[in-house]
């Protein structure tokens, strides 16, 4: 394969040449370095040079099948003890709990929420199957729940376990599981959906966001479907799904023109029977893995396969990853890395070991992606919306911080305000999960849950938490050292310039914003790459 073109003219020329050639479906041709890199970047987090080289000799099919074969269903990293605790949950009762009990509960859940984020980021760093975590994150952003409303971190953990278990399993099974998922039952008010007083929240989002997409159902369908889900509830102390027959409306419902004494499962099956569901999910997979502009005919083709497979997610993803559109030159570097991909990918590509992952979860939150706390039920909008003046500077400060000269790495330098990232300079959105002053993009408990645990004003608490998190992030960033010379030495080449070109090929999906000056010291070289606009793209 050709090296990555180093300037726009070369890119343009390459694009013209490629455009002039018929799209070559080459399932039997080997990937080569650039295609292997592209595949691993799009399906993982910052692959290393060695990982790319391992995939380069494979054909597209062999490579994709290997990725799919290595998928996991459980995390490698041991979860925090609090997440798997089976002791009764005992959230404060609205009628009897004292203020102190409520505050203690809020603090405890906030702490556990941070542990949970750290655990997930740790898993992203450690997993031998980055695709598993990327898909778990994909479903987290599809079947959205957020800790600020769910409050109980253990339920967020269990949902995460479910999302991972089915991340590349069966979509129909996942949909049914999520509809009964305790965190989801709280997040979309399922627990308040009862006979005679239906709450339409879940039924509506299940149609609009989880399956059909907007415009493919009527208000009447939502109302009727909501009745079918009545009585799906939670056992209070165990936090487990329970059906309460006396709260279930067992009358006849009419959904999509069909009538019956439907329960929730029956309605989900009606949603799965509609062709729009496969189209909707396929289009979303396209936007996640290929480009912001789905090709309608290709989406139809893949959705048909997806549906024919009875919704095997791996079947759809295989088609996505083998599609010519996935490999075409015009779709390289057209997607913006999410903050989590940016942070985890940077640590992975440079082989940086971290002792604690929490600082990096905080860093991603400062860039606009606070895990377990998407902004609303629609999830993070993603794409270009990831990048604004604040988040771009937060990203640049993060990589600038990791590529500081060694003499700057003294503990004293670390603790100066100058060393703080843009994220730390403003409010850290992860600080208050379930109470206190609302900060950043943080939601607060909704009306009902708020009665259960009216948070205190907690202003000073909040400030202290903010400061603690900032220090935490500072320490975390300070603990990471990039040995740029050693990192560059891994690349093939007989001159520094040759190795630099290989490094660029690994790090950047497109030609850089400015032609890299390859004739600088190793640290300046790496810093130039990671500060380049092209490093934000994949």
């Amino acid at each position: 394969m050709d090296p990555v073109p180093r300037n726009a003219v070369a890119v343009l020329a390459a694009a013209l040449v490629l455009a002039a050639m018929p799209a070559a479906a080459a399932p039997n041709a080997v990937l080569g370095y650039d295609d292997a890199r592209h595949l691993l970047v799009r399906t993982g987090f910052g692959p290393t040079d060695a990982e790319v080289r391992a995939y380069a000799p494979l054909t597209r099919e062999a490579a994709v099948d290997r990725l799919l074969r290595e998928v996991r269903t459980v995390a490698l990293t041991a979860p925090p003890a609090t997440a798997t605790d089976t002791a009764p949950l005992r959230p404060p009762r609205p009628d009897t709990a004292t203020q102190a009990e409520r505050m203690a509960f809020v603090r405890q859940q906030t702490r556990e929420g941070l542990e949970l984020r750290a655990w997930w980021v740790q898993e992203m760093l450690a997993t031998p199957s980055p695709l598993t975590e990327r898909m778990t994150l994909f479903w987290h952003n599809h079947f959205v729940s957020g800790q600020p409303k769910v409050r109980i971190s253990r339920l967020m953990y269990r949902q995460n376990v479910t999302l991972r278990a089915y991340a590349l399993g069966n979509f129909a099974t996942l949909l049914h599981a999520i509809a009964k998922d305790p965190a989801m039952l709280v997040y979309l008010d399922g627990v308040q959906n009862r006979k005679g007083a239906p709450n339409e929240n879940f039924a509506r989002e299940a149609m609009e966001l989880f399956t059909l997409g907007e415009g493919h159902y009527s208000e009447q369908d939502v109302k009727e479907a909501a009745r079918a889900f009545t009585g799906w509830s939670l056992e209070r102390d165990a936090g487990r799904f329970v059906v309460r027959p006396f709260l279930h409306d067992d009358g006849v419902k009419t959904v999509f023109g069909k009538s019956g004494r439907y329960d929730g499962d029956a309605v989900l099956d009606l949603l799965l029977a509609r062709p729009e569901t496969a189209l909707h999910v396929t289009e979303k997979l396209w936007r996640e893995f290929i480009s912001p502009d789905p090709d309608p005919s290709e989406v139809r083709r893949i959705a048909t396969r997806f549906r024919a497979s009875n919704y095997e997610i791996a079947a759809a993803l295989r088609e996505i990853l083998l599609a010519d559109a996935f490999y075409t030159s015009t779709n390289r570097g057209v997607l913006v890395k999410s903050p989590v991909e940016f942070v985890v990918g940077t640590l992975r590509v440079f082989g940086l070991r971290v002792e604690h992952a929490l600082p990096f979860a905080i860093a991603a939150a400062g860039m606009g992606q606070n895990l377990l706390s998407p902004p609303n039920v629609k999830g993070w909008p993603g794409g270009e919306a990831w990048i604004n003046t604040t988040t771009l500077l937060a990203r640049k400060q993060f990589v600038e911080r990791l590529t500081r000269a060694d003499e700057m790495m003294s503990p004293v330098a670390m603790m100066t305000p100058v060393a703080m990232t843009a994220a730390a300079a403003t409010t850290l959105p992860v600080a208050a999960d379930t109470g206190g002053a609302r900060v950043g993009a943080q939601a607060m408990p909704d009306r009902a849950s708020n009665r259960a645990a009216a948070p205190g004003n907690g202003v000073d608490d909040e400030k202290a938490r903010q400061q603690r998190l900032r220090r935490e992030m500072e320490r975390g960033l300070a603990s990471v050292h990039l040995d740029s010379a050693r990192w560059l030495a891994q690349f093939p080449g007989t001159t520094p310039g040759e190795r630099a070109r290989e490094a660029q090929r690994l790090l950047l999906a497109t030609a850089p914003q400015q032609t890299a000056d390859l004739d600088v010291d190793s640290l300046a070289l790496v810093r130039g790459f990671v500060l380049d606009a092209a490093y934000q793209l994949k």
Partner: protein, 389 residues
């Protein structure tokens, strides 16, 4: 070549690299648009208690609902025979006397949502309660009628990373904690490049926004005004530094957090309202210094007010409509909207609204900036006459 000159010259290169379709997407501002009229938004995060801000001391129901936290009649700053300001707002009395303070009562919206997140999203996007919009209301307004390209930025968000009313879209919004820090960070932005696709182009545009803001905000005006100590005073100082830049900016947003007073409200709210009032007094003084008071409109807003009946923790829970303040040299002082009807509370113990917040926004768009409001606000909202011609 000093740094500022460098930033300015590199900026044009950045603009060249990033422009193209991005800038073409903007219509030209209508001829009547006047973005020299500055808007300062002050978000009272957490939901300020309007009833203890603008106190209906002549209403017996008020004292019946709040035996533990009501403001005594003889403690209020008297502004009418039935209503007074919270004592901590005493620094605002001169504004009232000079008729430069408008009190907007009962500002809210139909079918109120009591979640902090959702309700502030409704305010920030100016949506109806059940409609989800992605772009902030100012983003939509600026897309239709962009502020002058020469401005340092369309809007500057101070001390918070969420862009609120400036979120989304192609607006030139800059969030910063302090101008000094922003200028330091801005050095990481790269002044030029060749966009190879739409996402790349967007990033280059954001880099250009950063650099343009850095170039424009690199003003170190020496104010004689003494700014109050504390975070909010610091944010007001930063706001004044931003406003003093010669390049211009259409809107500045400052936030004051901590109004979610479920517990022990009296002390917390008194402290916060004190910070607010002192900050506003300093803001006026500083704007007078640079001759901007007469073309500045200051508006407070929040996700909601608080429930009229106090809770069992000497606090208040999430409510609905609330009182807000409009200040400025061209504000027509007085009362607008209606005092909350405490004898007619809804089933969940909240008040209805008298003024739709989108009417307040319509006032900003149509009367302050002279740009159309209807498309931005998704409907016709009658401006509130709190501005002098």
């Amino acid at each position: 070549m000093d740094r500022r000159a460098f930033l300015k010259s590199s900026l044009s290169a950045a603009a060249l690299g990033a422009a193209g379709p991005v800038s073409l997407a903007f219509a030209a501002a209508p001829p009547g648009a006047n973005y020299r009229n500055l808007l300062v938004l002050i978000e009272l995060k957490g939901g300020n208690d309007g009833l203890n801000t603008v106190v209906p001391f002549a209403d017996a129901t008020y004292y019946a609902l709040r035996p533990g936290i009501a403001i005594a009649r003889d403690a209020v700053v008297g502004i009418s025979d039935s209503v007074g300001l919270h004592p901590a707002l005493a620094p605002l009395a001169p504004f009232w006397k000079d008729r430069e303070l408008a009190i907007l009562q009962g500002v809210g919206y139909p079918a109120p949502n009591l979640s902090h997140f959702r309700s502030i999203e409704i305010w920030d996007t100016a949506s109806a309660s059940e409609i989800y919009l992605e772009d902030g209301w100012l983003t939509r307004a600026f897309a239709a009628a962009p502020p002058p390209r020469g401005f340092a930025a369309d809007g500057v968000i101070i001390g918070s990373s969420d862009l609120g009313p400036l979120a989304g879209g192609g607006t030139r919004a800059v969030a910063l904690a302090s101008t000094e820090q922003f200028l330091r960070q801005a050095r990481l932005a790269t002044p030029s490049g060749v966009a190879q696709n739409k996402a790349f182009q967007h990033i280059l545009k954001v880099e250009a926004d950063i650099l343009q803001a850095a170039a424009g905000l690199d003003a170190r005006h020496a104010f004689r005004t003494e700014f109050p100590p504390g975070a909010f005073g610091g944010a007001i100082r930063t706001a004044c530094q931003v406003i003093a830049n010669p390049a211009g900016v259409a809107v500045v947003r400052v936030s004051l957090s901590g109004f979610d007073t479920h517990v022990g409200q009296p002390a917390t709210q008194a402290r916060l309202l004190g910070e607010l009032a002192q900050g506003l007094a300093a803001l006026k003084s500083a704007l007078d210094e640079i001759g901007r008071w007469n073309d500045t409109l200051i508006l407070t807003y929040a996700e909601f007010g608080r429930r009229p009946r106090e809770n069992l923790s000497k606090g208040t829970d999430h409510g609905t409509a609330s009182a807000h303040l409009a200040l400025g040299g061209r504000v027509a002082g007085g009362f607008y909207g209606e005092q909350p009807a405490l004898d007619r509370l809804s089933g969940d113990g909240n008040t209805g609204h008298a003024l739709d917040f989108r009417s307040v926004y319509a006032t900003v768009l149509e009367k302050w900036w002279g740009i159309p409001a209807q498309a931005t606000l998704g409907g016709r909202f009658t401006p509130v006459p709190f501005l002098r011609a």
